[in-house]
Symmetry: C2
Subunit: 525 residues, 2 copies
């Protein structure tokens, strides 16, 4: 066990503190070897070079032959050409104006009242950023509240509209899809549109699109005279789109300080662009991930912010980290099965859920503690003499960190002064760059997602099968799934599941509910 004196020394030796951000990164509880940073210098230098190329407009996503430009969104000066730069500035100006018009009521629903609710329809990168930011920065004083359709669950749609209730008349719908063809989002939009029509409202007068110019969604929105369309360019990836219109439109509508949000990110970018390992928080983060999991993702990343407002950060990072780094092949085509699993909610809450396992159980993780220095905006309240709830929160963070370290469980500690738009911007920028660096360190392409298509294609095949099976269904007493499978030339198991789903949801399809799958007969009523 290290002495407290040597830990204090290690803390100071490796501490990265950015005064303007009141940010610090403490890696003293990671047990890396003394020469680790020096040993990793060549890889780190390569990562710095690759990032510099990316930032100047290199084709980083070779698969899709596109640039990766999320860093330009908060510093348009960096954009590789005048066109992109002007586009960012123009889009952001239009977003500010649009939000201002909505807030003032000059853009308003037919009722004449102001828009008071937002329904955001999007999934993955088109929802996780807005959800995290809305939860982190939201307050009861915001000009609007926000609801999400982030799935294709019919009951989920019903439930949101039940919550919105009569508020539908003052609901602004923001539909977000880069490709404009994401089925979950398309389904949510169609369901929402039907609801508005049933309520006698003109959907287009309540709708805004954020999508790739020229996409299906873009055309649909133009054709139906939606209130506005904002672009999502091919040089912005879904998981790094929160500072494009994807994140800025909802944030501005919610009344958040989007310029602070961008400035926070730009400030963090400036610090973490400098190619000096020991002063670069993003590189140190990436190197600590590398150290923890031997560069092979052997340890899960547990994210524990001690602040309720940051509870969704881990969900945001699940996409950013896992979709970026979870790759089968490295950039040379070698099979590597990379990635880092991410989970966590918040402290001290999670201490009462699974810190038992973290301290005593399977040592397959490292923790990132996130400390927020400021306890609350209002006056302090003592729960004991001279002790506040916030003192407890801080005590639990430090106590848990110590208890884990004592048992050889490693952790990183990030400190930020408070949760505001500036800080959230900087935190996101930190992780975006750390993920990019880590991709270079382990030699994977962090900017594509080749593995997501197979499931979608298999789903499409199943839906086609469903239509064919339904058409092939005879009257009672019906046929077994094996018989029907032969008729439509498909697997009996797929046919069985499709039929069970129809029986549960399509009143015209029945079965004799035999408990043995191979015996159950399906029929049209």
């Amino acid at each position: 066990m290290d002495s407290t004196a040597s830990l204090w020394e290690k803390f100071q030796k490796y501490l990265v503190a950015y005064e303007d951000l009141e940010f610090s990164l403490d890696i003293s509880r990671m047990r890396f070897a003394d020469d680790f940073l020096a040993r990793m210098k060549p890889e780190a230098d390569r990562a710095f070079r690759e990032m510099a190329e990316l930032e100047t407009g290199a084709i980083a996503n070779a698969d899709e032959q596109r640039m990766v430009g999320h860093y330009w969104l908060r510093n348009p000066q960096l954009a590789p050409n005048q066109e992109i730069r002007a586009d960012i500035e123009k889009t952001n100006a239009r977003i500010r104006q649009f939000a201002s018009d909505v807030h003032s009521g000059s853009i308003a629903p037919a009722s004449g009242k102001k828009f008071a609710h937002i329904l955001l329809i999007g999934i993955g990168g088109s929802a996780l950023g807005p959800q995290f930011v809305a939860d982190a920065l939201g307050s009861a004083k915001d000009p609007s509240n926000i609801f999400f359709f982030d799935n294709t669950d019919p009951d989920g749609f019903d439930r949101v509209f039940e919550k919105i209730g009569d508020g539908i008349a003052t609901t602004l719908v923001v539909v977000i899809s880069k490709s404009g063809g994401t089925k979950e989002t398309r389904n949510g939009m169609l369901e929402a549109q039907a609801r508005f029509e049933t309520a006698g409202l003109n959907f287009g007068k309540h709708a805004v699109a954020v999508t790739g110019p020229g996409s299906e969604l873009d055309k649909f929105a133009a054709q139906h005279n939606w209130l506005a369309r904002f672009p999502m360019h091919d040089w912005v990836g879904g998981r790094t789109s929160v500072m494009s219109a994807v994140g800025l439109v909802p944030a501005a509508l919610l009344g958040f300080a989007i310029d602070d949000f961008l400035a926070g990110a730009a400030t963090m970018d400036a610090h973490t662009r400098a190619p000096e390992v020991r002063k670069n928080a993003a590189m140190l983060l990436a190197l600590m991930w590398y150290h923890a999991g031997n560069g092979r993702g052997e340890k899960d990343m547990v994210i524990l912010p001690y602040k309720d407002r940051l509870a969704l950060f881990s969900r945001y990072l699940q996409q950013l980290v896992m979709e970026s780094l979870g790759k089968e092949k490295d950039r040379d085509g070698k099979i590597v099965h990379q990635g880092i699993a991410v989970y966590g909610n918040k402290g001290s809450t999670d201490q009462h859920a699974y810190v038992q396992q973290l301290r005593d159980g399977v040592p397959n993780f490292f923790v990132t503690f996130i400390e927020v220095a400021k306890d609350r905006s209002g006056p302090a309240f003592d729960v004991e003499e001279g002790i506040t709830s916030g003192d407890y929160l801080h005590g639990f963070l430090r106590g848990t960190r110590a208890a884990l370290y004592e048992k050889d469980r490693e952790s990183i500690t990030i400190s930020i002064p408070e949760v505001n738009a500036f800080q959230i911007g900087s935190l996101i920028a930190l992780y975006e760059r750390a993920v990019g660096f880590y991709g270079s360190l382990v030699n994977v392409n962090a900017y594509h997602q080749p593995g997501v298509e197979a499931g979608k294609k298999a789903a499409t095949r199943l839906l086609e099968l469903q239509s064919r099976v339904r058409q092939a269904l005879p009257q009672a007493p019906g046929q077994t799934s094996e018989q029907l499978a032969q008729a439509v030339n498909a697997s009996a198991e797929d046919v069985f599941h499709v039929l069970r789903h129809l029986v549960a949801n399509d009143h015209a399809v029945g079965s004799d509910s035999n408990v043995r799958p191979s015996q159950e007969k399906f029929f049209l009523r």
Copy 2:
């Protein structure tokens, strides 16, 4: 790769279906060896025996010398003595009556209106069950909505009260703590009490306690004439308390069918009590976990319910699984570092977040898909001709399952007919028993949590240190943390962090904000 025919055969061979529950468990996508179940029979039989002893009142938690009786809560006939049986029945009757009185308005706040909001104050097992159940079963038509204090974050408290707003006058506070001494809950209660007093309301007339008879909280509630006190007995563990007053009080207040909830659990218990591996869904689950992680937790458990209402199930399971199984020593005292990490949110949403890594990346997990047969209560809506949003949801589940299996990623599929109180009860009961069985299989005590104390103790030491350091603080120009550490005989690092926290939150404490920790001077203003 297996042929579709052999998969159809395997599906049927191992399918467990409970007709009365319309439940099924499909383990055809787990690649266990043909003789695996036979090989594990001795361990499975031991687990059955141990569970039978537990259910008849054996001292299962040897550490704390107590029985483990959550199975009695839904079937009081099984309780080992008349006293416990009568207590369960009486408590449940009192809960029904209390909720009925609140709903009718015969128990009402001073304003004369009915209670319309619940504020539940609890953490860990005193919050995760109620949160999961409220989110799974809640609707806009419920007699009340619910807010949670599940942490000791001052800003989190402020934020909830900001949302409640004027509703405070019709808010019923349910304070839940088994020991009655959990600091987060105590702090939340004190903060809430102060809010009520500031609003000119008598807190006791708005408050209910669920706690161990005779606990600090129980005494406090009695002394201040709270509306009601419900018992939480020592034979109920926090993580299996959702069918005690802990879960039933909020569920009944929200208007949920608590008798259905208990009946669903009792029905699943009856099926999974039978000591026959091939027909026992809980045992098969436990065995599949064992198979997946070699009985050493080598694979993370990814929980993917394809239903918005089940999005919190993984958080609930994080505690149930990780706190139960994450143990340093086995029951013979051997160091084993057991446990299974749990994460996940919902499908198809998570497909757009991290299925990229699941399919292509580090193969350190197995998935549990949860299918809900019924898409929605209302009429179907076609998003394409003859295709609904729910057909897509089902297609994505099957498609993702196939895409993962193709790449050798294993999965379990659970199907339930719909999300209602009965089904949620049965799902919880299934996992409670599976966790108990797995504990036996790997020979750990699933009913204690020895690892959670160290962090709390370290936190207490830090709070004591904070008081001492604050008292030792000199006037400006102040002293460094090293100097102060010497004065109070503590580690300079701890002193530094305590002081930084004070500077951020205690207006009387200042520093010269030197960026070098060892140079920064702290003082009393």
